[in-house]
């Protein structure tokens, strides 16, 4: 066999034990040396939530037009937070593991993939918070609605990994790509209906803008979270938009981006060890 060759993402299952060890390492060291430890995985999204809840919900009064605004806001904001972590960490994954990449051959996709799993683990406490809050408010989701949440997370994970493979591979040679990632992430929050309702936007803009907007896979992903948590609350809701077609498109688009990311990654991979 030829050393230094792999089937990319497809060879990950063969390396699942090593993948598990890399994930375990990341989880074990994440809050080493901090007194409050895992409390911080709760603190960050809660702080972000409070800022927007007060600024947008109360000062800008969106909270009065959208019922149960706290659930609406939190269910979207944690998904965007998840995407932010996936995209950031996967982009950094190769550079952060310079020592290993330069010394030992492993399928380099292992590093970004382990970042995605670690992000999923960090996402669990936030899912717990929203579930508890929903149960307090009164929440009766159908199985479809619960599946919708899973699909939303899947779209974001796929999209984040695809973009992360692409920018992570470029990041090895050009550290500029981290700045591009920062800009995309800054837009992610506003380019999806996290703080506002998509229905209010359609009224104020030409129809084609709305169509382009919905082609962004993040939009249906966030709406799937709203559907699962916010729309499943016992109080009646208005402004829920049907997203079946665009959800399907989002799944396809994020998978296509994953394939493109993987192809670019593979093309540049041969140079990682010498360019780092």
């Amino acid at each position: 066999m030829i050393p230094g060759t792999s089937k990319g993402l497809l060879s990950i299952p063969t390396y699942r034990y090593l993948l598990w060890r890399l994930i375990r390492k990341a989880v074990l060291i994440r809050y080493r040396g901090s007194v409050l430890g895992w409390f911080w995985s709760f603190a960050r999204p809660v702080a972000q939530f409070l800022i927007y809840f007060i600024a947008v919900g109360i000062f800008l009064r969106l909270g009065t037009t959208i019922g149960d605004y706290q659930v609406y806001l939190f269910s979207g904001i944690i998904l965007i937070g998840f995407f932010t972590e996936v995209f950031n960490q996967t982009t950094q994954a190769i550079v952060a593991n310079t020592d290993l990449v330069k010394k030992i051959y492993l399928p380099r996709e292992l590093f970004p993939v382990s970042s995605v799993v670690v992000a999923l683990i960090n996402f669990i406490p936030q899912l717990l918070i929203i579930t508890v809050v929903c149960l307090i408010v009164g929440w009766h989701p159908s199985p479809t609605q619960l599946l919708a949440a899973v699909l939303g997370v899947f779209i974001m994970a796929t999209l984040g990994l695809g973009l992360g493979l692409f920018f992570g591979a470029l990041n090895v040679s050009f550290r500029d790509s981290q700045n591009v990632v920062d800009i995309i992430l800054m837009m992610a929050l506003w380019a999806s209906p996290v703080l506002y309702q998509a229905s209010t936007m359609y009224g104020s803009l030409p129809e084609w803008v709305g169509t382009v907007y919905q082609l962004n896979p993040m939009v249906p992903a966030v709406e799937l979270m709203h559907y699962a948590f916010w729309a499943a609350l016992d109080t009646p809701k208005t402004g829920v938009v049907g997203y079946t077609t665009f959800t399907l498109i989002a799944v396809i688009v994020s998978l296509v981006i994953l394939v493109i990311g993987q192809l670019v990654f593979r093309r540049l991979e041969g140079r990682f060890a010498q360019d780092l």
């Binding site: 074990l28 010394k103 030992i104 051959y105 050009f174």
Partner: protein, 259 residues
């Protein structure tokens, strides 16, 4: 894990007995003088040279039969480590072909995968996995790894509290217990104190007797003469000599600039 047999190898294959086959391998590095898009664009506009080339290997060919132990020797910067990194797959050749048969494990810069905030035990399992071992293989060898490193009381201590000697011993112990057919060793024979070096030497001899293929890069020529059958001298990025280890060493010594 990595495949242990090559499906393309058949009984009629003249290379069936080979562990490593290196054919006309070339490698050059492009040294970029710019690191951001801005610098690249400005340098391009000013028509400055963006890159310069450096040939690390200029067409290298050799075979290593299974079970042979081979020393790659040469002066600093001659291309030995580059060659070893191509055997391990870290680098890919620009031209030519590298083929290996069996599991390759590299003792390349020991301790690369260690994390200071993890305990010795966690690091053993993590590093063994990085070097290609399965969970069962690691569990089976865990005790002998600890015994080899001689630090049984420190396995649940974070590695950052280790002395540098302890760290290196543990890292080396993991690497040398890796299940493999081909072992690549890069200048790590000089680890630890003299008794530990002796132990490493004995372990390498043991692996050699077990029929493993061993490829060593080192400057400790006396040690190599005892450990290897064959020496490949690399000089000026090409093979200058390939033959019995003692002749290889005297060739290298004759190449040394008289000072």
């Amino acid at each position: 894990m990595r495949k242990t047999s090559d499906p393309t190898a058949t009984a009629a294959d003249p290379d069936a007995h080979l562990a490593v086959k290196v054919t006309e391998v070339r490698k050059s590095f492009v040294l970029r003088h710019t690191h951001t898009l801005k610098e690249t664009v400005i340098a391009a506009l000013k028509r400055k040279t963006l890159t310069s080339r450096f040939d690390a290997l200029k067409g290298v060919t050799f075979d290593i039969p299974q079970g042979e132990s081979v020393a790659l020797i040469g002066f600093n910067g001659s291309g030995k480590s580059t060659l070893l990194k191509m055997l391990s797959g870290v680098y890919r050749p620009d031209a030519g072909e590298v083929r290996v048969r069996g599991r390759v494990a590299g003792l390349i810069e020991v301790g690369g995968g260690f994390h200071p905030d993890l305990t010795g035990r966690e690091n053993v399992y993590l590093n063994a996995a990085i070097l290609g071992m399965t969970k069962a293989e690691t569990q089976e060898r865990y005790d002998s790894i600890v015994e080899f490193a001689e630090i049984p009381d420190f396995m649940d201590t974070e590695v950052k509290h280790y002395s540098s000697g302890m760290f290196i011993r543990l890292a080396f112990a993991v690497a040398i217990h890796v299940e493999c057919d081909i072992l690549l060793v890069d200048e790590v024979l000089a680890v630890g104190d003299e008794p530990f070096q002796k132990k490493c030497f004995d372990k390498l001899q043991e692996l050699r007797q077990q029929g493993k293929t061993i490829i060593i890069v080192s400057h400790f020529l006396d040690l190599l003469s005892k450990l290897c059958d064959r020496g490949i001298v690399i000089d000026q990025h090409q093979i200058a000599f390939d033959g019995p280890i003692d002749e290889a060493i005297s060739t290298l010594r004759s190449l040394a600039p008289a000072s």
